[in-house]
Amino acid sequence: MAVRPMPRARPVRSRPRPASGLPHLLILPACLVLALVAGWPLVKIVQLSLQEQQSGKYALFHSGGSTPFVGLRNFTGVLTDTTFWTVLVRTLVFTAVNVGLSLLIGLSMAVLLNRVSRWARLLLVGVLLFVWAVPSTVSTQVFYWIFTSQYGAANYLLNLLPGVSMQGHDWFADPHSGLAVVTAVVVWGAVPLLAISLHAGISQVPRDVLEAARVDGAGPWQAFRSVTLPYLRPLLVILSTLSVIWDFGVFNQIWFMRNGHPEPGYQTIGIYMYSQGIGSSHYNLGATVGVLMMLCLLVVMVFYIRQLFRIGDAE
């Protein structure tokens, strides 16, 4: 009994203005800026990934170094390196877990927000707004302090539970439990946007359609699955693509959690790229990993932009 949102007629557009040189003049400054700050680096990163760095950093910067083109040798080098694959798999698992948890909690919270009394909704939305506003760098430092082994609040509170002994437990000794704490920070920061915009989406589902479903004998779960979810689909697609992009490239949370020196077990692809490229000044290797990272995300991006065009937002 799938109730699909009715296809809406496109709004009638008034006749386009005759294009003079004006619109081109208007976008000219933006084009110049984009070419400088995005176009040039994009060309440069591809170029770097095809070159080999044979001299030191100084020579490179004063165009005295030799950086011959080596074709795809950097790529074969990176792709045959087991470290890269370990990092990539870790990143994919991390992304899946984080996106999954964020969406699950965000969607449940959005449903919850539709069922509570006004005061409870104001309270929860208010808290979520503050959570949303806190920079990821700040929240990571706060979580680090909460999970610190000796005086941390987390160990103390968990220790109060019967049968749990967490006194002096070091969450960061094992990268897996350390990354679990990172997941907590990421999800904590991601839920507000998801919950609040999904809540807005849910309240736009027409009441009469829900009522009709109820009269037809659909339970709350069935009504949610067959009425609410199809309405939320476009929003959900956009939110999940954005979440994938953010979580795949997560950086600040891991970097701050490890005080600027993430151990190998903490490296996701962003950290790996940065440590290789900036940390050790292997610009060509870093650029190669960067290109691979962008290729991975390209698939997701195409999906996102297609969705934007489909709902007519990009028209």
Partner: protein, 310 residues
């Protein structure tokens, strides 16, 4: 689907294979009301619990910032500050490097936002109001740039700025920040401008307004609130940025507040000073938290506009 006459079994509390909503039309009005009220009460309790869990880290940051060192370094944490103190704040604010970094953050963020709003507004006006050759290409380019992982472009950006001797300079960071503030501004302002009905400016033109007057008297006042929201969110994005600043700025007194926050713990002066760290964290997030909470509804309108439209 027909309504099944098995409602009576639902009231007995035995597990019913039928969908629970089916029972409702038969149950008495008062009973249903009571049941719904009880359910709401349970949901409210859950909402309060979730608020407590999600709010805890912020609460913990604030009270740690106001605690004395001996209260912080105690094996049984105090969930209420017994001896409130401003020591952490005083210590951080007295640090000249923190004050310099805070000033740098303000300068960088403000410049990046001003430049991108000025240039971005013109471009947004063009794509929201005109059809022209290359418009789709431009929109596509803006969207792509907005999605490109900033992190990947750190390496070429750092080389580019180095070539022009703009590394370790605030201007260099401002240029680098345009990488993300510019596409965001163009895209969001476009949405706000597109929301102003085109008929309005057509009517104004018919009434004899020039194109400039139409823009100045019709579009600008109506887009004003959206413009503010866009600028505010641009401010938040730039203020929170860490990677580019960390890569491009080298000298201590030339860094931003975010970098200060990272190095606070590693510095020998402040090592393990949790109160000072949390005071720094509070001060660093204050300029964005306040603005965000004030402007949130308009910011998220810009962020998800179109997506919610369905």
């Amino acid at each position: 689907m027909t309504i099944l006459p098995t409602a009576s079994s639902a009231t007995l509390g035995t597990p019913v294979p039928v969908l629970p909503a089916v029972a409702e039309p038969v149950a008495s009005g008062a009973g249903r009301y009571r049941r719904r009220r009880q359910a709401t009460r349970a949901w409210n309790a859950l909402a309060v619990l979730l608020s407590a869990i999600f709010g805890f880290p912020i609460y913990w940051m604030l009270i740690t910032a106001f605690k004395t060192s001996s209260d912080i370094n105690s094996l049984t944490p105090q969930f209420w500050p017994k001896h409130p103190s401003l020591r952490g704040f005083r210590e951080v604010l007295a640090d000249p490097i923190f004050r310099a970094d805070l000033r740098n953050s303000v300068l960088i963020t403000l410049s990046a936002v001003l430049v991108s709003v000025l240039i971005g507004f013109l471009a947004a006006l063009a794509i929201a109001r005109f059809r022209f050759l290359g418009r789709k290409v431009f929109v596509f380019a803006v969207l792509i740039v907005q999605m490109v992982p900033l992190l990947a472009l750190t390496i070429p950006m750092s080389l580019l700025l180095d070539r022009f001797q703009l590394k370790n300079s605030l201007i260099g960071v401002v240029i680098a920040y345009l990488m993300f503030t510019m596409p965001y501004t163009v895209w969001t302002l476009r949405t706000f401008i597109a929301n102003v009905p085109r008929e309005l400016d057509e009517a104004a033109m018919v009434d004899g307004c020039s194109r400039w007057q139409t823009f100045y008297k019709i579009i600008l006042p109506l887009v004003g609130p959206g413009l503010t929201a866009t600028a505010v969110y641009g401010w938040i994005l730039a203020w929170n940025e860490f990677v580019l600043a960390n890569t491009l700025l080298i000298d201590n007194d030339k860094q931003t507040a975010m970098i200060y926050l990272l190095f606070f713990q590693s510095s020998p002066v402040h090592g393990a000073d949790w109160g000072g760290l949390m005071a720094t964290a509070t001060l660093t997030s204050l300029p964005v938290v306040v603005l965000f909470v004030l402007f949130q509804s308009r910011i998220s309108a810009g962020l998800t506009a179109g997506a919610v439209k369905g």
